[in-house]
C-alpha cells in the first residue's frame, strides 16, 4: 500500500524534471563546444607539428642531393640519417594524431571506389627498398578480377601499410612476407578478405589480444629493436572496424604471423 502523503506534489515533480532537462541541454551544449575545440586543436597541432618537420626534411634533401655543393660519402650518409629520422617522426606524429582523432570519435570514413590491386601495389612499392635491404621475398597475390572496393582509400592504405611494415620489421633477413586479397561471398553479402603474412618471429597466442592494445609491444629482444608508437595495430583495428570489418591474427612464436582483415563490400543501391 503506497503512502500517497509522501509523494511530492505533481507540480514540484514536473519542475524538477524541467530543471533536469535544462541542465542536460546545457551539458550537451558544453560537450559540443569542447568537441569543436578538440577538433580545432587536433587540426592545428597536426599542421604545427608537420610544417617545421617538412621544412627540415626539405633542407636536408637539398644538402643530400648536392644542390648547394657536393658532399662526401660520410656527409651524405649523415644527412640521409636526418631525412630518415624526420620521415619516421612524421609517421609517428601521423599515428598519434590518428589515434587521438579515433579516441575523440572524430575519425570518419570517406568512401570512394578504388582498385585494391592498385593500392596493394603502391604500398608494396613504398616498402621495396626495405624489403631489398633485408633480402626478403615479397609475394603479392591479388586477382585481376577482384571487384573494386568502396571504402576510404587513405585509411585502407594505412591499415595495409601498417601490417606490411610490421611483417617486414619482424621477419629476419632472407625471409618471406606476403599479401593476399580475395572477395569472399557469405550470408551478409560479399566481403574483401586481406591477409598479410610473414615467416618471421611469430607471436605467442597469449599475446594475440595484447598486440592490438594501445602502447603495447610484446616484450622480446627482437621487438625492442622495433621503432614505433605502439599505436599502429590499435589504429588499424579502429580503421577496419569503422568500415564494419574485423581484424585478427594467427601466429605462434617462431612460426611467423598471418594478419587478416575484412571490409564488407557495399551492396549496390
Amino acid at each position: 500500500m503506497t503512502n500517497l502523503d509522501a509523494t511530492p506534489p505533481l507540480a514540484e515533480r514536473l519542475g524538477a524534471l524541467e530543471a533536469q532537462q535544462v541542465e542536460a541541454a546545457r551539458l550537451i551544449a558544453d560537450l559540443q563546444a569542447r568537441d569543436a575545440l578538440k577538433t580545432e586543436f587536433l587540426a592545428n597541432i597536426s599542421h604545427d607539428l608537420r610544417t617545421p618537420l617538412t621544412a627540415m626534411i626539405t633542407h636536408a634533401e637539398i644538402l643530400r642531393d648536392g644542390i648547394l655543393g657536393d658532399l662526401s660519402e660520410r656527409q651524405r650518409e649523415s644527412v640521409q640519417a636526418i631525412i630518415n629520422g624526420g620521415r619516421q617522426l612524421l609517421d609517428s606524429i601521423g599515428e598519434i594524431l590518428t589515434y587521438a582523432r579515433g579516441a575523440a570519435g572524430q575519425l570518419t570514413v570517406s568512401r570512394t571506389e578504388f582498385s585494391v590491386a592498385e593500392v596493394v601495389a603502391k604500398v608494396s612499392t613504398l616498402n621495396e627498398s626495405l624489403v631489398a635491404r633485408k633480402g626478403l621475398a615479397l609475394e603479392v597475390d591479388v586477382p585481376d578480377d577482384l571487384p573494386p572496393l568502396q571504402a576510404d582509400r587513405e585509411k585502407f592504405a594505412h591499415v595495409l601499410s601498417n601490417l606490411l611494415g610490421n611483417a617486414i620489421d619482424f621477419t629476419p633477413a632472407a625471409g618471406r612476407v606476403w599479401v593476399v586479397a580475395r572477395a569472399v561471398a557469405g550470408d551478409g553479402g560479399c566481403t574483401l578478405l586481406v591477409e598479410v603474412g610473414d615467416s618471421g618471429i611469430g607471436i605467442a597466442p597469449e599475446h594475440h589480444d595484447l598486440v592490438f592494445r594501445e602502447f603495447a609491444q610484446v616484450d622480446s629482444s627482437a621487438s625492442r629493436r622495433h621503432h614505433g608508437t605502439g599505436l599502429g595495430l590499435t589504429i588499424a583495428r579502429k580503421l577496419v572496424e569503422l568500415h564494419g570489418g574485423r581484424i585478427w591474427l594467427e601466429s605462434r612464436l617462431g612460426e611467423g604471423s598471418r594478419f587478416f582483415f575484412t571490409i564488407p563490400y557495399v551492396a549496390d543501391s
Partner: protein, 120 residues
C-alpha cells in the same frame, strides 16, 4: 603560395639554387597582386593558409579577369575528395606533402618547360 616561412625558405632555396625565380605570397589577396604584377609560369599552392582556402586564388584570378597560371595544389592528405576538388577548381595536379625535393624539382622543371618559351 604558402603561409609558413619555414616551408617557403626551404622551397625558395631549392628552386633559386636550381635556376628558378621565386615569388612568395602568404594570402590569397597577396597572391592575386603578385600574379597581376608578374604572372608566374607555375604556382605551387598550399591549400591551408590560416583560415583561407588556397583554392580561392583561382576563383579570384578569374573574377579579376586575370589569366590563371598553371597551378599545382599541395595537400597533406592523399584523399580523392580533396584531389577531385582541386582538379575541379582548375589545378593541373595535386601533390601530397611532404614531396621529396628531388621529385618536386623534377616535376616543376617539366611543368615550367611545358608552359612555354621565356620561362625561368
Amino acid at each position: 603560395m604558402e603561409d609558413s616561412a619555414l616551408v617557403t625558405d626551404a622551397l625558395r632555396l631549392l628552386f633559386e639554387e636550381t635556376g628558378h625565380r621565386v615569388s612568395v605570397a602568404a594570402t590569397v589577396s597577396a597572391a592575386v597582386a603578385l600574379c597581376a604584377a608578374d604572372a608566374p609560369d607555375l604556382v605551387l599552392l598550399d591549400l591551408t593558409l590560416g583560415d583561407e582556402d588556397g583554392l580561392d586564388l583561382l576563383a579570384e584570378l578569374r573574377a579579376a579577369g586575370l589569366a590563371v597560371p598553371r597551378t599545382v595544389a599541395m595537400t597533406g592528405h592523399d584523399d580523392p575528395v580533396t584531389r577531385a576538388r582541386c582538379l575541379a577548381a582548375g589545378c593541373i595536379e595535386v601533390l601530397t606533402k611532404p614531396v621529396p625535393a628531388r621529385e618536386l624539382l623534377s616535376q616543376v622543371r617539366a611543368w615550367v618547360r611545358s608552359s612555354g618559351p621565356g620561362t625561368g
